[in-house]
């Protein structure tokens, strides 16, 4: 069409009148060329866009320090001279936010492998974002062979409708870290915290916390003993600690209003109330850039209030051992069980989570990715991640190797025996977010536990029912 236009007007002087048409034509042509290149219409030369032709693009949304460990591990893998080398890219996102993955996969520019929080595997598989792994496993001894290698709960989290969509990479458990120096300065005998004594009671921890707290002239906290909801003090942590259950598989029913979960929320409500919710929040905003009790910026590890010795007691996971080693090697600390209500001292509690590695739909190099994720979630990868991040393995064989769990890590390893896990539901992310919002409301003492937990149920259950009955 455009060429005809150029020739159609013999009266026009060459230079003067053709120029606009020529420019317009070039605009159109260049835009078409650009879009062809972007769509890959131009031929089979796709190497320009993605680097090496058979490269595996591997995405993670982790920040420091984890992303640094992953870079080392990818380098380890590439050093084994695989058919397809791996390129790690850090992308935006968080545990329950996979916007970049979704849009990229939809646009045909997704990665070959992705690190996904394991408890959301069912949800993302249901959405159609992930490739089923059974066809790949068939060539390597079948699904049963893989199932037998991994610990049960981790394997169960990698399934949707009974089919595997992920390989479990690690697990983790939570416990109470205590700063010996800070406690001793406040006149507390730290031998109380010895895990050999079992879990401490919440009443005792509250007393100790009060002893450690310090305020400035205006009454603002400058140092605190314990903030039960900071870091890994999630709804699940406390719900399980009080003996609660979040899901009833027989009824296909979420159960946030379970009596024990209500008790746990009541404890959090009272604790916030005792120490003044606004003042505690102000402390968290100052020391940890939290903009809500449950909403904290991903701050550099060096600014964590336990590392900066502003907070004496903190519930977090096994990975924090390495964080302390790296950022505060001289910190004198220990770990013990999460404190329990006085009638549950014989039942230490925690929950286990962990990450998994998946092959998204539309992966350019799924076979290479399959090779890679077997390494990553297999013995070499798990061992490397254990060494770098004190990560607990999900391979039965490694987790059973007691020589791996020494010092402070021993408690975390032992806790895997009693650890609960979050229900792996296709509405797992929604359930998590709703519980978090509910917890935030009671921590600000804005609402009562029963009311907010009922609301969680009324918001999550209708969404869950679309999937019932679950396999």
């Amino acid at each position: 069409m455009s060429f005809r236009l150029l020739r159609a007007d013999p009266r026009a002087g060459r230079a003067a009148t053709h120029r606009p048409a020529t420019i317009a034509l070039w605009c159109v042509v260049s835009i078409l060329l650009t879009s062809c290149a972007a769509l890959g219409i131009g031929g089979d030369d796709e190497e320009g866009a993605e680097g090496g032709g058979n490269e595996i693009v591997f995405w993670s949304s982790h920040g420091q320090p984890d992303i640094g460990y992953f870079e080392d591990m990818v380098a380890d893998y590439n050093a084994t001279d695989p058919d397809s080398p791996v390129r790690l890219q850090r992308v935006t996102g968080e545990e329950t936010d996979v916007a970049q993955l979704m849009t990229a996969v939809r646009g045909g520019t997704g990665p070959d492998a992705y690190l996904l929080d394991r408890f959301t595997v069912a949800q993302r598989a249901e959405a159609g974002l992930l490739q089923p792994l059974a066809p790949y496993m068939e060539e390597e001894g079948g699904v049963d062979e893989f199932e037998s290698r991994y610990i049960d709960f981790a394997w169960a989290e990698a399934l949707f409708e009974g089919e595997p969509y992920a390989l479990p990479m690690d697990t983790d458990t939570r416990a109470l870290y205590y700063n010996k120096t800070m406690l001793e300065d406040a006149g507390v005998d730290v031998s109380e915290f010895d895990p050999a004594n079992g879990p401490m009671t919440l009443d005792r921890i509250t007393e100790i916390s009060e002893q450690v707290n310090e305020t400035d002239d205006s009454g603002a906290y400058t140092m605190m003993g314990f903030i039960p909801w900071y870091d890994q003090g999630w709804h699940y942590t406390w719900g399980f600690d009080f003996g609660g259950s979040f899901y009833d598989p027989d009824q296909c029913q979420v159960t946030p209003t379970d009596a024990e979960i209500q008790e746990a929320f009541q404890f959090l409500y009272d604790y916030a109330n005792q120490f003044d919710p606004k003042k505690v929040q102000s402390f968290l905003s100052t020391e940890a850039q939290c903009t809500g009790p449950m909403t904290c910026e991903a701050i550099p590890p060096a600014q964590h209030p336990f590392i900066t010795e502003k907070l004496a007691l903190n519930i977090t996971g096994n990975w924090f051992i390495k964080t302390i080693e790296q950022y505060a090697p001289d910190l004198d600390y220990g770990v013990t069980y999460i404190p329990t209500p006085s009638d549950r001292q014989d039942q230490p509690s925690t929950w286990a989570g962990g990450w998994s590695v998946v092959i998204p739909e539309g992966a350019q190099n799924p076979d290479g990715a399959w090779e890679f994720i077997q390494w990553w979630a297999g013995e070499p990868g798990q061992r490397a991640y254990y060494e770098k991040n004190a990560a607990l393995p999900t391979l039965t064989e490694l987790l059973g190797d007691e020589s791996l769990f020494e010092g402070n890590l021993k408690l975390f390893g032992d806790l895997t025996d009693v650890a609960e896990s979050r229900p792996a539901l296709p509405v797992g992310a929604l359930y998590w977010d709703e519980l978090t919002a509910a917890q935030e409301a009671i921590l600000l003492n804005r609402d009562q536990p029963a009311a907010v937990l009922e609301q969680v149920e009324s918001r999550v259950q209708p969404q869950l029912e679309e999937f019932c009955p679950l396999q």
Binding site: C27, V28, I31, A127, L129, S218, T286, G292, V427, R446
Partner: protein, 309 residues
């Protein structure tokens, strides 16, 4: 089609296009061709598909399942939908008028007959060119309850410290404050408008004995009302879409105090994989924006002065 062509020709009394005009038309179309293609592919097509998806249950992958109006009826019983809409109205109702005032004040400052005015203009405009993402991160530090600049000033003036982002009552106001860093953009438009006001008007006013305030009140302000209207319309549209500050600084917290409409829409789309519901929310927001814009236009006849003879 033929009938309407005839009708329009009759109405406008247009004759058939001559050869040169046809050629110009073709050339013109060719020139804007890339834009038309982009407009159709990147705006019209997504907009229409989102209308379709708003009537479906769709995760973004696989088949979309037709569910009729159920996404729309779900909003009625969704507390968080109403809360996010309320938050967004609250934000817009504060951010737009404050934004207009700040922009006018900045424009007045930029319009002073000083030798180094170019320097001030650049300084006042500078924050507008910074990405809101970066500003938000800096703002978190400026608003730090104990070590932040804002509270430091408050303390000097004898006020108590405020937990700007951590206190549900203040969190939305913090984001309104942050929005003012972008006021330079609008200030430039106001400045341009102020510079077109004939100086003879001010000269006449001065002879009549009008002071600075009278001049502003009776000359400057009426003559920039078209720009104020523009600013309000754009401000409402952008205010209803507020997203980045809450996404970066507060993630919707504390206690959903900064859970704005688009943030909640984003969550439904990308966290919960509920594209159908998110699309429906998008369309409701469009309707709300149109209604508000129309309402503003309606009132504008009473207060906007156009310089038309």
């Amino acid at each position: 089609v033929a009938a309407s062509n005839v009708a329009s020709r009759r109405r406008s009394g247009r004759r058939r296009l001559g050869a040169i005009e046809r050629r110009n038309l073709r050339l013109g179309l060719l020139f804007i061709g890339p834009w038309i293609i982009g407009f159709l592919a990147f705006l019209v097509y997504p907009i229409l598909s989102s209308l379709y998806f708003s009537f479906t249950d769709y995760s973004g992958f696989g088949e979309a399942e037709w569910v009729g109006l159920s996404n729309y009826s779900r909003m009625i019983s969704d507390d968080l939908f109403w809360k996010s809409l309320g938050n967004t109205f609250y934000y817009t109702a504060l951010a737009v008028p404050i934004g207009v005032v700040v922009a006018i004040v900045l424009a007045l400052a930029m319009n002073q007959p000083l030798r180094e005015v170019a320097l001030y203009r650049a300084a006042l405009y500078l924050p507008s060119v910074l990405p809101i993402f970066a500003l938000a991160f800096i703002f978190v530090w400026i608003l730090n309850p104990r070590f932040g600049l804002v509270n430091h000033v408050l303390n000097i003036l004898g006020f108590d410290s405020i937990d700007w982002l951590g206190d549900p009552t203040w969190a939305k106001l913090s984001i309104v404050l942050l929005a003012q860093l972008g006021a330079g953009q609008y200030a430039l438009v106001f400045l341009t408008s102020m510079r077109t006001i004939p100086t003879s008007l001010y000269d006449a006013a001065k002879i009549d004995g009008a002071g600075g305030w009278r001049q502003f009140r009776n000359i400057t302000l009426p003559l920039i009302t078209p720009i104020i209207l523009y600013d309000i319309i754009i401000g409402i549209s952008l205010g209803l879409q507020v997203f980045t500050p809450a996404y970066v600084m507060t993630a919707g917290g504390p206690n959903n105090a900064t859970m704005f409409y688009v943030l909640y829409l984003y969550r439904n789309a990308f966290r919960y994989g509920d594209m159908g519901y998110a699309s429906a929310m998008g369309w409701v927001l469009l309707l709300v924006s149109v209604v508000l814009a129309l309402a503003v236009f309606r009132t504008s006849q009473r207060w906007v002065h156009y310089e038309m003879e």
